[in-house]
């Protein structure tokens, strides 16, 4: 044990009522989910600034539950990403599984929790963006007048406009609900390492229903680690209003429109991030062009028959 370094007290509540009594006694405690974010900070250990009280959420049984019906799947916030893909592989949208598998192997995803990946200050995964495409919502438990209240929020509303977490004090995300809607086109692309090269990384998740020359119900989320994520109707409309296939000029104007929307929210994007964003959009447009051309030729062939 290092001299002069205080060993934090670890509280391990086994249910939410025990958790609420602990949080009343120790309001400034650190919540500990999987620990991958806290332990990867350079000042984690040894440190004099470490919080003296840690609440380990892993023993709270309510936070490990998983239930589903035809329309939604509901996960406790302490469900690990590994469990999420193995329990939900057959029902969850394909893009969500791809996103989790992209984060890392089983060794890493078994430690990362769903709640933890949504609540870290830095975006070590692009999960929030991808979840927002499926209108995910979160149950937030918070203390008010010494009592614990809970309320469901659309996931997009727990982040501010620039993608920063905006939860009330002493709040805890207890459950995450995902709508099980399948869209015909789902694509997740990441460039750069979200753990090692945060300044230059970017990921884009896009879903929609391509139909002839239209791209209906387009939803797009762009995530920049250590900055935040952007997912709004303006971005969606850029894709929804386009008529595919696009020529080079039209494609460039879409890239420019998206980049200017992104730069307005995140003015400090690095040059490489901008280039990578443009590259990914180009890749998606080319994909949608191919899709539109194959559908068009298929429809033409049908009418000829």
């Amino acid at each position: 044990m290092l001299e002069g370094l205080r060993s934090p007290n670890i509280h391990t509540p086994v249910n939410l009522s025990e958790f609420s009594s602990i949080i009343q006694h120790y309001p400034t405690s650190t919540y500990w989910a999987g620990g991958t974010y806290i332990m990867s900070r350079s000042d984690y250990y040894p440190s004099n600034t470490t919080n003296d009280e840690i609440i380990f959420l892993g023993s709270i049984e309510e936070l490990h539950r998983f239930q589903r019906n035809d329309r939604i799947a509901e996960f406790g916030s302490m469900v690990s990403l590994y469990d999420l893909i193995y329990t939900g592989r057959s029902i969850l949208p394909k893009i969500l599984i791809e996103n989790i598998q992209d984060i890392g192997g089983n060794i890493v995803t078994a430690r990362m929790t769903l709640g933890g990946s949504l609540c870290t200050r830095e975006f070590r995964s692009s999960l929030c963006g991808t979840l927002s495409l499926f209108d995910a919502s979160c149950e937030v438990k918070y203390m008010k007048k010494k009592r614990m209240h809970s309320k469901w929020f659309p996931m997009i509303s727990i982040y501010d406009k620039s993608g920063k977490l905006n939860l009330p004090d002493k709040a805890l995300i207890s459950r995450i609900r995902v709508n099980l809607m399948e869209r015909n086109y789902q694509r997740f692309i990441r460039k750069g390492d979200f753990f090692l090269d945060q300044e230059n990384s970017v990921s884009i998740a896009i879903t929609g229903n391509p139909e002839q020359d239209n791209f209906n119900d387009a939803r797009i989320a762009i995530t920049y680690p250590n900055k935040g994520f952007i997912s709004n109707h303006d971005l969606d409309n850029i894709f929804s209003s386009a008529r595919f296939p696009l020529d080079q000029d039209e494609s460039k104007s879409i890239e420019d429109a998206i980049l200017s929307a992104v730069s307005a929210i995140f003015p400090s994007l690095s040059k490489l991030q901008k280039t990578r964003t443009r590259g990914i959009i180009k890749e998606i447009i080319s994909d949608l062009n191919i899709n539109a051309l194959t559908t068009a030729s298929f429809d033409e062939a049908k009418t000829n028959i």
């Binding site: 900070r41 350079s42 380990f56 890392g104 192997g105």
Partner: protein, 159 residues
């Protein structure tokens, strides 16, 4: 904080900071020399150990989580029959990891074999985490599949 755990088969009672990373506990308190790095959780993969039989990155495990658990480092694992299977697979395929990633790679292979994950995609996804490029992914697939075959034969003989 007093923490009771089992490391390489030895039951220990450690007096350590509750938030100290397992990698530092192994290096400083146990003087275990089989860990090659302490990357502060940047996921280099070189500090892999087995916790209750599952591969974990020891720099991401705080002391309070090892309470009552069994930790196996490469030092302890190298003496087991399971380790011999993997060594045989290295010899059989004439492929051997470099000294800096040998310990971690062997433990990751063990975790893959014990969880029956021998499909190419599973092996590649697991090995991608290790930030060492001494072996190609196809070589890793060959090693894991050879080790799996050797272990299957050993178990069949025993049965």
């Amino acid at each position: 904080m007093k923490i009771d755990c089992t490391i390489d088969g030895k039951a220990l009672s450690l007096s350590i900071n509750s938030n100290k990373p397992l990698s530092l506990i192994l290096e400083e308190d146990i003087q275990n020399s089989s860990l090659n790095s302490h990357c502060n959780g940047q996921m280099c993969g070189f500090c892999t150990v087995l916790m209750n039989g599952k591969a974990v990155l020891s720099c991401l495990i705080p002391a309070f989580e090892i309470r009552g658990k069994s930790i196996i480092t490469f030092e302890g694992y190298a003496k087991t029959k399971n380790a011999k299977d993997i060594e045989k697979a290295y010899d059989l395929t004439h492929l051997k990891p470099c000294p800096s990633c040998y310990n971690s790679r062997t433990l990751i292979i063990e975790s893959l074999l014990s969880n029956n994950l021998t499909a190419k995609e599973d092996i590649i996804r697991e090995m991608e985490m290790l930030k060492c490029h001494c072996l190609e992914f196809n070589d890793m697939v060959r090693i894991v599949q050879a080790a799996s075959e050797i272990r299957r034969k050993r178990h069949a003989r025993r049965a």
